[in-house]
């Protein structure tokens, strides 16, 4: 069995591992959408990326902490078992630019991405999964606190 460390090493040294598109930003760069990434409004960003609004779906799995250990690097994982996933996007409503990332998922690739996002304050985090048949989303509030004063 391949160890986690070996996998990480393979990725960091440029080996191709399915489902870890986040570590290869060139894939996302190909689809760079300036208007979507630079707006300060989440609805505008969604409008610039998609035709129509997503509907909430239990088929979108969004994993994020209840409270961020460090707002500068908040780990999120999005996955979906729906067929024909084309892209996965992450929005942080309270950020100056709500669209944090969009991942292109090549056909035949497992639809699971992990990344670390920067959050300035407590906010809803929304994942949007685009498939051949529509737009689906899941949201979760992530608390960002100044910390301190622990018992």
């Amino acid at each position: 069995m391949i160890s986690r460390r070996s996998v990480l090493k393979a990725v960091f040294t440029g080996g191709a591992v399915a489902g870890l598109g986040v570590l290869m930003p060139s894939i996302a760069l190909a689809a760079w959408n300036k208007a979507a990434f630079e707006t300060d409004n989440q609805d505008t960003a969604m409008g610039a990326l998609f035709d129509g609004a997503p509907s909430a779906s239990a088929e979108v799995n969004l994993k994020a902490p209840d409270i961020a250990e460090n707002g500068a690097v908040v780990p999120v994982t999005i996955s979906s078992s729906m067929a024909g996933v084309k892209t996965i996007a992450v929005f942080v409503e309270g950020n100056p630019n709500p669209l944090a990332a969009q991942f292109a998922i090549p056909a035949g690739t497992k639809a699971e991405v992990s990344c670390r996002i920067r959050m300035g304050k407590t906010s809803a985090v929304t994942a949007v999964v685009e498939t051949a048949s529509g737009l689906f989303s899941a949201s979760k509030e992530v608390k960002v606190t100044i910390g301190g004063c622990g018992g």
């Binding site: 209840d66 100044i146 910390g147 301190g148 004063c149």
Partner: protein, 586 residues
């Protein structure tokens, strides 16, 4: 004038024989002849201590008069204080238990019943409860916050407590303030610990794993840094004990000391563990040794199935009877056993094939005058203390009133610290963290350096002075208030409200985040304006290290000059929407 230990013990014995001791609360269920007589029940005994905060010697500790419950915790244990507490748990007014569990009549009762805790006295109690039940069927669990809280802990980097716990016979522990030492020190202390350190919810970061952390962590595939659980044979049953460290350690305390580890509640991972233990490992009972805090433990018991008992800490609640959480026909007992070495929990379980049939619970206060000191432990404590005695024994000032910390808002000892900070830095406002540890000093007693260290001894004691706008000050107060009063326990972080000097405010604990605090005024009555700049002093910064002198030196200087501790004004907020809250003494 305090009764001597010998007199007191004799008096207790005589009183018991004469039947004059009131039969009180849960104590009435046992015979009055011996306060510490606990009948044996079932086939497994779990002894539970937590949050002793390095207090090796007996201390005074005043319980809170304000411990507000919000959301699902409103009016429920542990958010019940004073007379409401006595009624709720059936504790006799004026009894020794009243002194142990509440702030009522604290000064008089402290004179009468003396100090609490101390490892030499605790050792006597632990040994007795082990021997009477059978050592093979008894375990001693420590919920953590053991290595921090005293000047000796600070100097030995927690190793004094490792040695004391080894002699005490702690079998398993988990942690929180343990992680305020550097991660290498945490690992070397654990290596010296004769018991086992358990934590299912501390994972190594991917970056650290890449850098070679796989050399030392418990399991690379699960990414767990520490062993998550043990299975112990007790009384013919297989008992799983799972560790749950404080999930907000890197938020509440400096993340810089433990960069390679990540903490969270991880109740999904806990559920996987419990399911596996039950389905594949023939476990008959599952116990979680937790540092979540009691509200979080209750919430977790509502989410995770198959746990029989959560032995908890962190929130320092001395709760005489477990809270029972029922889910899918299974009951989880949630216990919390106070702080500062004051209590020992005794949970006896009757465990059958694959299930717990019944339990007996006692939360025993450790009255130092009632339990003779164990010689070996007393010698160890003396030896640990000796190198630092000159530092800690310095007499600084005489207390003009009872000095204490515990409570949701300002305590009198905090006011002294806040006043010292303002004095040192000539600041308009001072801030001091709402820790829940820190011992009490009785009126008329001398405040020694040791007592100041009890209140301040962290590994990040540096002070600061900085300019803040009124808006920034409000932001801090709102943020901390949300960590205590968010109605969702998983979004709380434990601890009490930040203490303030030089200003007051109004607080509505039931309001939404961002709207709990208003009417912020300086001591001269002037309203604090959002855009105006104020000079603010403080200590214990979690983000980065501050540059000023250590808080204990700032406080000691102030006390040396004052000679007598007199609090001119206790800065404490005006509370609204707390009428009818059982955690509030009107």
């Amino acid at each position: 004038m305090s009764t001597s230990r010998r007199d007191f013990a004799r008096m207790m014995g005589l009183a018991a024989v004469a039947g004059v001791l009131p039969q009180q609360g849960f104590a009435a269920k046992k015979q009055t002849g011996d306060f510490y007589e606990v009948p044996n029940y079932g086939n497994a005994r779990l002894l539970h201590m937590t949050d002793c905060h390095g207090q090796l010697s007996p201390v005074y500790f005043r319980e809170p008069s304000i411990n507000l419950g919000v959301g699902p915790a409103f009016g429920k244990a542990p958010h019940i204080v004073g007379h409401k507490f006595l009624q709720h748990f059936g504790v006799e007014p004026g009894s020794m238990e009243e002194y142990a569990f509440t702030y009522l009549n604290f000064e008089d009762a402290a004179q009468q019943y003396g100090k609490v805790g101390g490892f030499a006295h605790l050792k006597t109690l632990v040994d007795r409860l082990r021997e009477s039940y059978g050592a093979n069927n008894t375990v001693l669990l420590d919920g953590g916050d053991t290595w921090q809280g005293s000047g000796i802990n600070y100097k030995t980097r927690g190793m004094d407590m490792v040695r004391a716990c080894n002699l005490l016979g702690v079998d398993y522990m988990t942690g929180h303030w343990e992680f305020t030492y550097h991660q290498e020190e945490v690992l070397s202390n654990i290596a010296a610990f004769k018991g086992e350190f358990l934590a299912q919810n501390i994972l190594v970061t991917e970056d650290a794993l890449f850098d070679g952390a796989d050399e030392y962590i418990y399991d690379e595939d699960s990414m767990r840094v520490f062993k998550p659980y043990v299975i112990r044979e007790m009384g013919g049953a297989r008992v799983a004990i799972i560790g749950q460290a404080f999930p907000r350690t890197k938020i509440a305390n400096p993340a810089r000391f433990i960069p390679d580890w990540s903490f969270d509640i991880n109740d999904d991972l806990l559920q996987e563990l419990v399911d596996d233990l039950r389905a594949n490992q023939g476990v008959d009972a599952v116990v979680v040794l937790s540092h979540n805090g009691m509200d979080v433990d209750i919430a977790m018991a509502n989410r995770v199935s198959g746990v029989d008992a959560i032995l908890g800490g962190h929130t320092h609640d001395g709760v005489p009877a477990p809270t029972r959480v029922k889910k899918n026909g299974h009951t989880t007992l949630v216990c919390n056993v106070g702080s500062n070495g004051k209590f020992l929990g005794v949970l006896d379980l009757d465990i059958g094939k694959g299930k717990v049939n019944g339990f007996q619970y006692r939360l025993l206060p450790v009255f130092s005058d009632l339990l003779p000191a164990d010689k070996q432990m007393a010698d160890l404590v003396a030896a640990e203390r000796a190198p630092y005695a000159a530092w800690m024994d310095e007499e600084l000032a005489v207390a003009d009133e009872v000095l204490y910390r515990r409570g949701n808002f300002n305590g009198t000892f905090d006011q002294v610290i806040c006043d010292a900070l303002r004095d040192h830095y000539d600041a308009q406002i001072s801030l001091s963290p709402g820790f829940r540890w820190g011992t009490s000093v009785m009126k008329g007693q001398t405040v020694t350096m040791e007592r100041v260290l009890d209140q301040t001894c962290t590994t990040y004691p540096e002070t600061y002075i900085r300019e803040m706008t009124g808006a920034n000050i409000k932001l801090i107060l709102e943020d901390v208030a949300d960590n205590i009063f968010n109605p969702e326990p998983y979004l709380q972080s434990g601890g009490d409200m930040v203490r303030l000097g030089g200003m007051d405010y109004r607080c509505d604990p039931l309001a939404a985040m961002g709207s709990r605090i208003d009417e912020m005024r300086l001591d001269n009555g002037e309203l604090i304006e959002a855009s105006k700049i104020y000079k603010v002093a403080g200590w214990a910064t979690v983000g980065s290290r501050s540059e000023g002198p250590d808080i204990w030196d700032v406080t000691a200087d102030y006390l040396r000059q004052a000679q007598e501790v007199r609090i001119n004004k206790l800065n404490t907020p005006k509370l609204i929407n707390v009428a009818g809250n059982d955690g509030y003494k009107a």
